[in-house]
């Protein structure tokens, strides 16, 4: 790949060197000074079309002479200015709202448009905003980012109600989840039923499945890059949301007008109280999230952000079989925490520098105590420090962009510490897996340019290195995205990504659990790697803001991590010797139609995919289907504005059944030394059985307060799983109560479940 890149750079370089015209640089704002994203403009008589970027700015090259610039944006008066341009010029355009502008719910609709994705060279990328989440029917009234991400093409769900996500045939640990640039290692609450991301603070989430920018690395399958609110607050505000299982509150406060502000947000569950009330059951479980951010804009060219996140889960469960108040006492505490600092600087020459630093921690402590006789506890801990510095220029050589940077992460991992006390020490030995410190370094450079008309090339390379105890792993990770414009609204795209993953998540079971262990590449466990090729045909209809995409991909994966058959990791602190490595491959096609604005918005997605695994020590060394090799995965997500205040939403999801390895037979075998007989289960071939397909319909209704009201509120209500169909998580053997015969059954977790939540803001 290296020679290809070199050739590509050399062969297109003459295009950069041709004569230059004058440059118009501009920023589009509204009357209140807020930046206006994605405003459409045309410069006449050159007929140069452009759209303001996510920072409201644009750059265009034109011939010298008198120019007419026409700026338009939904809900604002069209702005026309005439100016003679004789040299490089910087302009500010201020848009005026239309009198009787459209209702707020429609105007605020798409801050982030698929038009950006269409215009860029990348594919396999989508952006979700807070609105995308809050308008959908939700599980128990809690809008959830990860549940929404899984409705996009390419993401397959794991077991119902878990935070697992399987992107383009990858594994659950191959998704890099970043919150303001800090990795979050346990993105699930409620044992995975909800994500840890408070929807109130979400600005946007970029979901990248392919065509990875060179600045991202560390996971094979996806990057979920979550940005929290980063605008300077104009006034003090307080918002709250009361749901069935948790409530949220957010406080926003300006500190220095237009210069500095902060916000603090919290979420606390009361699922234990709910279940006690509704079902009369004790569920001694709770979770919380606390987020905060300080935003400072000391000058127009500098931005500083400091954020904090902490969240935790607590389970305290007594299994009292004898009813004597004593029994097996299980406690589980899991905590995430992250702190970030980001400094951005953009100078007048359009050089932009970003420096970000983070600290993130995840750890858990699980304790099992039987009466006062013995106890066993297991702890795991991972702590990262990291920094990234990048430089970007968006107008080098004829509108080409160049970005480059360095990244460093220090992982300090205590994979597992086992402590046993009391009479159990004979059976479960205390011990600790060796602590690991791994340093990850990366340097990246990425260049986007248009070598010929209609063709855009985005080529980059990331060089990554991990230093373990006594070994270095160095990998080049080339990335290429190519866009060819078939028509002004149609584009053909191709991309290739090489990815490397230096951290693996080791699970004791077939599904992820809160007691999984993050384990780094070591002297003997190699990093996971992948190659991914994708080709997409995309269309964007600007007049109706409709995005259509058809994309096919092939991904090969090496050195995937599993463990030897029959390994019980739960009570082992030294499990490295039981880990095995193998290969994987996945391929499929994805379809997406997404409508961004108007009364009717939403998307229809469909994926057809295959995912395979091969380990020398599993399944007799043969290829077998991955557990979440779900053939068909589709979703219809519709939001419809019913008048000025009501919004209806419908979500229908169809997923092919996951693969499963059930017990199909059994035999009797003598216990050791002839001490009895055991019934030994016989399993089917690995993942040889497909669970039943599942589909689910959710409906929701949202009522907003009157537009312009000082006290804003909304009421959301709806029903999850309207027709009460099970989404099977496995095959179990049940005894028929009538005739005592045994039969297979596929139970699901959640049936019809109404929800309601109330939110307000002052």
């Amino acid at each position: 790949m290296k020679p290809f890149l070199l050739w590509a750079f050399i062969s297109v370089s003459p295009f950069f060197l041709k004569g230059q015209d004058v440059k118009i640089t501009g920023v589009v704002r509204d009357a209140g000074g807020e930046l206006v994203y994605l405003a459409n403009a045309i410069i006449l008589p050159d007929s140069v079309l452009f759209t303001s970027d996510m920072k409201g700015s644009f750059t265009a090259r034109v011939k010298t002479g008198p120019k007419t610039v026409v700026i338009s944006y939904t809900g604002f008066e069209t702005l026309t200015i005439i100016r003679k341009i004789s040299q490089d010029t910087t302009l500010t355009f201020v848009l005026t709202p239309k009198v009787g502008r459209l209702q707020e719910v429609l105007i605020e609709d798409r801050k982030f448009s698929n038009e950006d994705i269409f215009e860029s060279a990348v594919s396999g990328t989508q952006t979700l905003s807070k609105n995308d989440l809050s308008r959908l029917p939700s599980f128990m009234g809690e809008a959830d980012l990860l549940q929404t991400v899984r409705l996009l093409p390419g993401s397959a769900a794991g077991m119902e109600g878990t935070a697992d996500m399987f992107v383009r045939g990858g594994a659950a640990d191959q998704n890099l989840v970043l919150l303001d640039n800090a990795p979050i290692y346990n993105p699930g609450h409620l044992l995975g039923f909800l994500s840890v991301f408070n929807p109130d603070i979400l600005d946007k989430a970029d979901v990248i499945h392919g065509g990875f920018p060179a600045e991202f690395g560390g996971r094979l399958s996806s990057v979920l890059n979550i940005s929290t609110l980063s605008g300077i607050a104009e006034r003090t505000s307080l918002s709250a949301n009361i749901g069935l299982i948790a409530s949220r509150i957010k406080f926003e406060q300006p500190i220095v007008k237009d210069k500095a502000s902060l916000w603090i947000a919290g979420r606390k569950s009361y699922v234990d109280k709910l279940v006690q009330k509704v079902a009369g059951k004790e569920v001694p479980y709770s979770f919380y999230d606390l987020n905060g951010k300080l935003i400072v804009h000391p000058s127009k060219s500098h931005q500083i952000e400091m954020s904090h996140y902490s969240g935790g889960d607590n389970l305290d469960f007594l299994r009292d079989v004898d009813g004597d108040g004593r029994g097996m006492h299980t406690t589980h505490d899991a905590n995430n925490s992250s702190q970030t600092f980001k400094w951005s600087h953009k100078n007048s020459s359009h050089w932009k520098n970003d420096l970000s630093m983070f600290h993130t921690v995840f750890g858990y402590n699980t304790r099992n105590a039987y009466k006062e006789d013995y106890q066993v506890s297991a702890r795991s801990h991972i702590e990262d420090f990291g920094a990234k510095f990048s430089i970007e220029k968006d107008s080098v050589w004829n509108n080409a962009t160049l970005s480059t940077g360095l990244e460093w992460i220090r992982h300090q991992i205590s994979p597992k510490v086992l402590n046993s006390e009391g009479s159990i020490t004979d059976l479960v030995e205390s011990g600790a897996s060796e602590g690991k410190i791994v340093q990850e370094y990366a340097a990246f450079v990425q260049h986007e340019w248009a070598p010929v008309s209609r063709l855009t090339v985005n080529a980059g390379i990331r060089g990554s290195m991990a230093v373990t105890h006594s070994r270095k792993y160095i990998y080049p990770e080339p990335r290429v995205s190519i866009r060819y414009a078939l028509k002004h609204d149609q584009a053909l795209k191709f991309n290739y990504s090489r990815m490397v993953q230096y951290l693996h998540r080791i699970s004791n079971s077939a599904v992820s659990t809160p007691i999984d262990v993050w384990f780094p590449a070591t002297d003997s466990i190699r990093p996971q790697t992948s190659h991914q090729f994708a080709m997409a045909l995309q269309r964007f209809i600007p007049s109706r803001k409709i995005f259509l995409s058809v994309e096919g991909y092939y991904k090969s994966m090496d050195d995937l991590v599993a463990y030897e058959e029959g390994t019980n990791l739960l009570f082992k602190s030294d499990f490295e010797s039981r880990l095995i490595q193998g290969r994987g491959k996945a391929y499929g096609s994805e379809f997406l139609v997404r409508k961004e604005t108007g009364k009717l918005t939403g998307w229809v997605s469909y994926s057809v995919s295959w995912s395979w695994r091969k380990y020398d020590d599993l399944n007799a060394g043969g290829w077998f289907r991955a557990r979440y090799d779900r053939r068909h995965n589709g979703a219809i997500v519709v939001q419809y504005a019913l008048g000025k205040r009501w919004m209806a939403s419908v979500l229908w999801e169809y997923i092919s059944g996951a693969r499963f390895t059930p017990v199909v037979g059994q035999h009797l075998a003598l216990a050791p030394n002839g001490a009895g007989l055991d019934l030994i289960p016989e399993f089917s071939a690995m993942n040889n059985v497909k669970l039943s397909d599942s589909h689910r319909l959710d409906v929701g209704l949202k009522l907003n307060s009157k537009a312009g009201a000082r006290f804003k509120w909304n009421l959301s209500m709806g029903v999850y799983n309207v027709y009460n169909r099970a989404t099977p998580f496995g095959l179990v053997i049940k005894q028929d109560k009538q005739d005592n015969t045994l039969k297979y059954s596929q139970p699901g977790l959640f049936g019809l479940l109404p929800f309601i939540s109330y939110g307000c803001k002052i």
């Binding site: 569920v283 029959g566 390895t661 059994q666 035999h667």
Partner: protein, 289 residues
């Protein structure tokens, strides 16, 4: 290990299951979906083997059954008559000498005269008129004997009655793998003896005491032994393959979490069948607690 480990794992998953069930109860529980097209792949001959205290070899032949034909709660004693293979010709060949094993009852075949010389290879052949032929080979393991063994009652603060075993052995050179069992000695005959499963099993490797005298004390936890009970403590030196097979069995008796567990494909040395053909002598001591 197996009782305690599985108990705690069960407890953890039980808390998860209780929580999800309770959450589910707050919704309408969806009806489980049926499964119609999952079939048992086919009946195979299952072999188990044992050297009895009188140095005779016993082979237990049963047939594998479908997952829906017996549950974990099924009593093997009830199951044996239904799945025992009684129509087989069973032979063991040692140094070109063929020994026929005689059917005792319920799939148990026995021959008293097989020369069990440590290190010698023995070949098993089973020809069942209804299920076909299986074969297997194994090497007779060198015996190991207790130098001393002592069993005392152990009563913890919660009035659990366990047995505390102290023993000494002289470990022969070369890697050895030991299995110790502690169980009540109430069996009247050999068939009953193997059909009454309630033993505590301990595995010991000699990595740290190769060719040395070794002594240790352990408690047969979670098995109830009252003072006055006759306790049978047995010791055998087994092959590494069989030791690993037993390890798998002991570590993976987690039926409650089967739905979350990865599958385990138990190894077998039976060509064409299931189970394990192993020949190791067992030193059995009976002690009154």
């Amino acid at each position: 290990m197996k009782v305690c480990g599985s108990g705690m794992l069960k407890s953890f998953y039980a808390s998860v299951i209780v929580m999800t069930t309770a959450l589910g109860l707050s919704s309408c529980m969806p009806d489980p979906l049926d499964v119609d097209d999952l079939n048992f792949p086919g009946t195979r001959i299952v072999v188990s083997s044992l050297i009895l205290p009188d140095n005779s070899v016993a082979i237990l032949l049963t047939k594998s059954i479908g997952a829906l034909e017996a549950s974990d709660d099924s009593d093997p004693r009830d199951l044996i008559p239904e799945i025992a293979i009684n129509d087989a010709d069973v032979t063991i060949t040692v140094n070109d000498s063929i020994y026929n094993l005689r059917l005792l009852q319920d799939g148990v075949y026995q021959s008293p005269g097989i020369p069990l010389v440590p290190g010698r290879e023995c070949h098993l052949k089973v020809v069942s008129r209804s299920l076909g032929t299986v074969t297997a080979s194994t090497v007779v393991q060198a015996p190991i004997y207790f130098d001393t063994v002592n069993v005392e009652p152990y009563i913890n603060e919660f009035n659990d009655y366990w047995a505390q075993v102290t023993y000494t052995i002289k470990d022969p050179p070369s890697p050895n793998y030991y299995l110790l069992n502690v169980q009540k000695a109430i069996r009247k005959n050999m068939v009953e003896r193997i059909l009454k499963p309630d033993a505590y099993t301990r595995q010991v490797e000699d990595k740290t005491f190769d060719a040395q005298e070794f002594s240790e004390m352990f408690r047969a936890m979670h098995k109830t032994f009252y003072p006055g009970d006759s306790i049978e403590v047995s010791l055998s030196n087994v092959s590494l393959d069989y030791f690993n097979y037993v390890t798998l069995r002991l570590e993976n008796q987690l039926e409650l979490v089967e739905v979350f567990s990865e599958p385990i494909y138990y190894p077998t040395n039976i060509r064409g069948g299931k189970g394990f053909f192993t020949l190791h002598l067992t030193d059995v001591r009976v002690v009154v607690l």
